[in-house]
Symmetry: none
């Protein structure tokens, strides 16, 4: 066994960090729920938003932007449900022809009842003229009146200066006037936005320094898009230039080429720049994977720090070197961010993780127990086939129960038969199960084949196990594991169930979506029955 | 129609570029075929390598690394086949206990018969001691003798100084000695490598400047990995610090978190820094997509410059602004890199977005046309039901065709019937369609119910429409729209199809996954048939 440590540089206070940075933590604002939702294919339900909020909150992100309460009923509902000092509501500044106190958007913003609000206004004179069709003075009034109004209502106010970097290059005085209007009206934080994502790193550094110098009493932040692939570097460089508030999305998604990736920024600030931080960095990989799961996206395996391949080694020479001297091809110890090295030979850490995961259920399984290795080997085999136990604790525990022999199945499949026809839209499932010596067969219709299967199985089980009456399925997710085989692809089904007391998730994987759903359904009911 | 132009900054010579950069082009080396092949899931055949080489060559990349001829027979065969002044063969320096002229690896390197070779040696004293198990002097000899031997054989020699940045921080003198050994032996280019990808941008800039100052007569290059998400920014900054040779992979793939993304670097150098370059930048998006296709990966849609979403707009406010003033949310004109603007349709979109999207297909539909409103209303209604047209251009165009009456269905469903049973795992689909007056019925088995349905429909259609032989399904995605109804939830199916010339995506939505898949399948084939 080698030990992490000596070979790696320890986090240290970089001498180039500004004084502010040395004394204070960098404030992190995540906008996955607002700007991230602009990414193609992302669509959050209210429950998704609550789930992501809680993950970011627990992880230690300082501020979490929840959306624009005036933009749609879903965001409105989210703000009604959610109460937290970290929650930030977002809006444009007042309409050009309206007083702040009459503006419907700002009314909704206040109704969201958050401690902090973020409002955006234009810091580019051409944008004011060509897009807003307002006069330059009008725009400055909109900014200052909005900020003053929100301050008068007791809010902490972040001002997002839209198009600041481009605006400065076309008309420096006007861009600075926009900041000044917000600052004079009492804005707590001036956020310099590279809205189009095309500003160069040099410009971002130079102009951040200018803003820091011009507003020594106001916090300066940055909000950068990734259209030139440099959003993370620009954000880190802006922090070195004196910004102490950073906006991004945890996985980097957002419209066009995405927002600055907040998890990469956090990795760099904590692991490379030695910034003090209250985030639970050792949970970063888990949080990233859970957010990806809720967002129904596949986390890019090459994502820095948190991607599945961030510490994987394929080259013969490299993996040999890594086994000899881990730090030879790894820039940090993967465990520090909750990730792991992936080389097939190093299952040692894996066994202790399995033992750790099962310590409550099977306290006798330590990492040297042969059953522990057997479970780990089975997990690896199944993960090769498309299973993923990270999000499916229920199935993982059933698997361990089967291997340790501590669990006996409550029922067995005799057969099922699904019939789905159209245009009449009929879906019928016949399920036949054996409990002890009794075979029970039930036929049910559903609004889809899986729904029919679920109803038939549930109905057959109820005759033997009344306790499953309490079990409700609360979530059903389908993911194509490798979609390049099109309709012949392997499908992963995740089912989350609850009995009001516990909640558990089970998994099924197959090229056949009905079979995958069946496996996940069976595990779900078996989980309940094995805990009676 | 608006015209690109005035609103965008023209490429210009940035005053901060070094003198070298102002006079010479930056030399671009692509290592997709060598370092890129280290990425998980990438495996090139010789034909793949030839295809990618030709794409990069035509595009105008200066040097193309082909692999290590001694590492495997495939690379060896590639070098036998390929003749080009741009081709670079790669190898380690000589073995520590062997003369350069006796070293098998270097023999194979020379046999590859390329004009330019690249050899790597260690520039970190700890690596020499702990991984190479050689003395510090031995390592310097290995470098200088190898370079001298290759120069004596008439090669242009690039020296990759492995672990240079980390090596410099642990033992600056030794790292510089490694460079000096190569330079004194006649190396033409000294390439500073951030092998672990963990060096900070500041260190990369500082140390590149040192190397440029120390070796004024030798070209300095950089080779940077992306483990902190800053490889592109570090590479650009190194160029500004005096490096004139840049290494990367065209799509950024490589082991762990990938290599510096060369297409992003090219976009930034040409479009942002005004570097002169002989690349055909207007073909960059096409080249990127072709390389992705040969590599059998899906090009990340958020890739800067070349990704499908790099210039797409979803938010109502943003897409309105873009339609009014394109440069308001686009940092460059998409056409300059061969990409295009995409307005994503969503419930936030307006009539002008619909008209814009259909301008090629239905030029008579302007935003005040009543059919435009009818289409938009239908989009909104269907999106309430779970449809999402932003990713399903094919179905959107079919919908518009149905509403405008410009499209008549090629076939009609008489009925389908799916039977799925277990434990025998049988999946059978019977599909019956009407074409004109003929009813065709086909029965097929599949490895899942949807696969069976796909096969049966395709087989029934082929009898009438041989042109669908060209249609291949390349992607099948399933999403639960609101999963809280569990197995009764609404399911959204997206199918992407291609006929090698065009690629289109269609959608189906239902509580019944088979019905949703059927609808998406039908639209996919109808799209092809309506374009005959």
């Amino acid at each position: 066994m080698w030990s992490w440590g000596a070979g790696y540089p320890r986090p240290h206070l970089n001498s180039q960090l500004s004084t502010l940075t040395q004394n204070n933590m960098i404030e992190l604002l995540d906008t996955t729920l607002r700007d991230g939702a602009q990414a193609e294919g992302i669509s959050f339900s209210v429950a998704d938003k609550v789930g992501i909020f809680n993950l970011l909150d627990d992880f230690g992100v300082d501020l979490i932007e929840g959306g624009d309460p005036s933009s749609n009923p879903k965001d409105c509902e989210f703000f009604q449900k959610m109460r937290s000092d970290k929650l930030v509501a977002f809006s444009r500044v007042r309409h050009k022809d309206m007083r702040a106190s009459d503006d419907e958007g700002l009314k909704k913003l206040l109704e969201a009842d958050t401690k902090t609000v973020c409002v955006f206004g234009k810091a580019s004179s051409s944008q004011v003229k060509d897009v807003l069709n307002a006069s330059l003075e009008q725009n400055l009034d909109m900014i200052s009146e909005t900020v003053a109004y929100l301050k008068a209502n007791g809010k902490r106010v972040l001002f997002d200066a839209e198009h600041f970097f481009d605006g400065f290059k076309e008309d420096a005085g006007y861009a600075m006037s926009a900041l000044l209007s917000a600052a004079d009206a009492g804005a707590d934080t001036l956020v310099l936005c590279d809205t189009k994502g095309g500003a160069s790193l040099n410009d971002i550094v130079t102009l951040t320094k200018k803003a820091v110098a011009a507003f020594p009493k106001t916090q300066i932040g940055v909000h950068i898009h990734n259209d030139t692939g440099t959003a993370v570097a620009s954000t880190i460089s802006a922090v070195k230039a004196g910004a102490t508030h950073v906006q991004g999305t945890f996985l980097g998604f957002g419209e066009r080429c995405g927002n600055a990736n907040l998890s990469t920024i956090i990795g760099n600030l904590v692991m490379k720049e030695g910034c003090p931080s209250s985030v639970k960095i050792e949970e970063m990989t888990t949080v990233a994977n859970r957010i990806a799961e809720i967002s129904n996206i596949v986390l890019d395996s090459s994502t820095p720090y948190v991607g599945a391949n961030a510490f994987s080694h394929k080259a013969g020479m490299h993996s040999d070197a890594v086994l000899k001297v881990p730090e030879s091809f790894e820039h940090i110890a993967p465990e520090t961010v909750g990730n792991k090295e992936r080389i097939l030979l190093s299952e040692f850490a894996g066994r202790s993780a399995v033992a750790k995961k099962l310590e409550n259920l099977f306290p006798s399984l330590d990492k040297s127990h042969p059953k522990t290795k057997e479970i780990l080997d089975m997990v690896k085999l199944l993960e090769m086939k498309g299973y993923q136990f990270e999000g499916a604790d229920g199935s993982f525990k059933m698997l361990a129960g089967r291997i340790t022999g501590s669990y006996l199945p409550s029922f067995e499949l005799v057969h099922y038969c699904i019939k789905a026809t159209n245009p009449d839209g009929m879906n019928t499932a016949e399920v036949s199960i054996r409990v002890g010596d009794t075979v029970t067969t039930v036929k049910q219709n559903g609004n889809g084949p899986v729904n029919a299967l679920d109803k038939a199985l549930r109905s057959a089980l109820k005759k033997h196990f009344p306790q499953i009456n309490n079990v409700a399925l609360v979530d059903y997710k389908v993911r194509i594991v490798d979609s390049s085989d099109a309709t012949g692809a392997v499908v992963r089904v995740l089912i989350t169930s609850t009995d009001k007391k516990d909640t558990w998730t089970t998994i099924g994987v197959s090229t056949d979506i009905i079979k995958a759903s069946w496996d996940a359904l069976c595990d779900s009911f078996e989980w309940k029955l094995s805990h009676k």
